[in-house]
């Protein structure tokens, strides 16, 4: 069973427990179900008429996962709280789809441990696709979780080597970039490069240049995207 399905099952079990213990009345459950079903029926209509991107079921469960990350001590902003858009205004090609038209949203650990071609969609809506010389953008991202002392120039290295933490950090930078706060933005054709000042240490500068300077701390994250597709991201000192 996928992690999202497990979360839904846990939610249902919790609701049943509350009903059994008398803490939640059946009529409130019915009202909740009606509201949820109504929302998902109206979501496409509202999106079309209002021109906004409302969260769907996948987004809701992804946000739950992000909350789990925070509970375990990682730092991340919440797309629902800060009101930032989860998609870029410069969207290019949509992610590849499976035969039934549903985007293939892969599991983080599966992609990193195997040669999976699946797309990974982050809680903020960024897509990590097949590509780069590492074979998958997630693998390329995680190449910035360790120093490469012989790599020419600067090699930004994240303090954390935990993939979920690194993905959450990129999400945080992306969402901050959408607001424009402490962000420098450059565009070339379909590519956008954000330098986001996260105002706390997120890593250091390695590579030949960084190691010559005793690995200085980095508070900025450089994020290169094409629409909502991640090309690369790493700590930087602009």
């Amino acid at each position: 069973m996928s992690r999202q399905n497990q979360q839904i099952v846990r939610l249902i079990q919790e609701l049943i427990r509350l009903v059994k213990t008398g803490k939640l009345k059946v009529r409130w459950i019915i009202a909740l179900v009606v509201l949820v079903v109504g929302y998902f029926l109206l979501q496409p209509v509202l999106e079309r008429s209002l021109g906004v991107d409302l969260p769907g079921l996948v987004d809701v469960t992804s946000s739950n996962r992000a909350s789990d990350h925070r509970a375990t001590g990682t730092q991340q902003s919440d797309p629902q709280k800060n009101g930032a858009q989860k998609t870029s205004p410069h969207k290019t090609s949509p992610p590849p789809q499976t035969s039934d038209g549903v985007p293939a949203v892969g599991d983080l650990s599966k992609i990193l441990s195997a040669n999976s071609r699946e797309i990974y969609q982050s809680p903020a809506g960024l897509h990590y696709t097949r590509g780069s010389q590492h074979g998958h953008r997630l693998k390329h991202l995680m190449a910035h979780a360790r120093d490469e002392p012989d790599r020419p120039g600067q090699h930004g290295v994240f303090d954390s080597a935990d993939p979920e933490t690194v993905v959450a950090l990129v999400d945080e930078a992306y969402l901050q970039a959408q607001t424009g706060r402490d962000t420098r933005t450059q565009r070339e054709a379909e590519r956008t490069v954000y330098d986001v000042n996260l105002r706390r240490r997120i890593g250091y500068i390695g590579g030949t240049s960084g190691n010559r300077k005793s690995r200085p701390a980095a508070k900025h994250l450089r994020l290169v995207v094409e629409g909502d597709r991640v090309i690369t991201a790493f700590p930087v000192r602009p």
Partner: protein, 114 residues
């Protein structure tokens, strides 16, 4: 440093700001292009002010023959190969490019890998 991570590079990428610009030899047409080792931007000559070619979804085709620049037999160009490339040598003589050697971020990918 493993041998298959060595590359010759000619500067740093103006798009991502930090990626070394390696000289990459296409395994099919044997042309040499400039490939950013960080963001996969590709230039066909020393004019880096020109718009680079960016990777397609999941693939990095050679601008000349569209073979994969990622998978073998494509590889980082050897010194011998670089010496045979007219546009590279012309840029060296003009002083617009300087050849250096360093470690690439990624090892070469075998054909059977995705």
């Amino acid at each position: 440093m493993s041998a298959n991570k060595q590359m010759y590079y000619v500067g740093f990428c103006r798009i991502c700001g930090t990626g070394p610009l390696g000289l990459r030899e296409c395994g099919r047409c044997e042309s040499v292009v400039v490939l950013c080792d960080e963001c996969d931007a590709v230039w066909t000559d020393a004019d880096f002010s020109a718009r680079p070619q960016f990777a397609n979804e999941g693939e990095l085709p050679c601008p000349h023959c569209e073979a994969s620049l990622i998978k073998k037999p494509s590889r980082w160009a050897t010194k011998g190969k670089i010496n045979d490339v007219a546009w590279v040598q012309a840029a060296f003589q003009k002083g617009t490019l300087e050849l250096k050697q360093g470690a690439a971020l990624t090892p070469e990918i075998d054909d059977n890998e995705d």
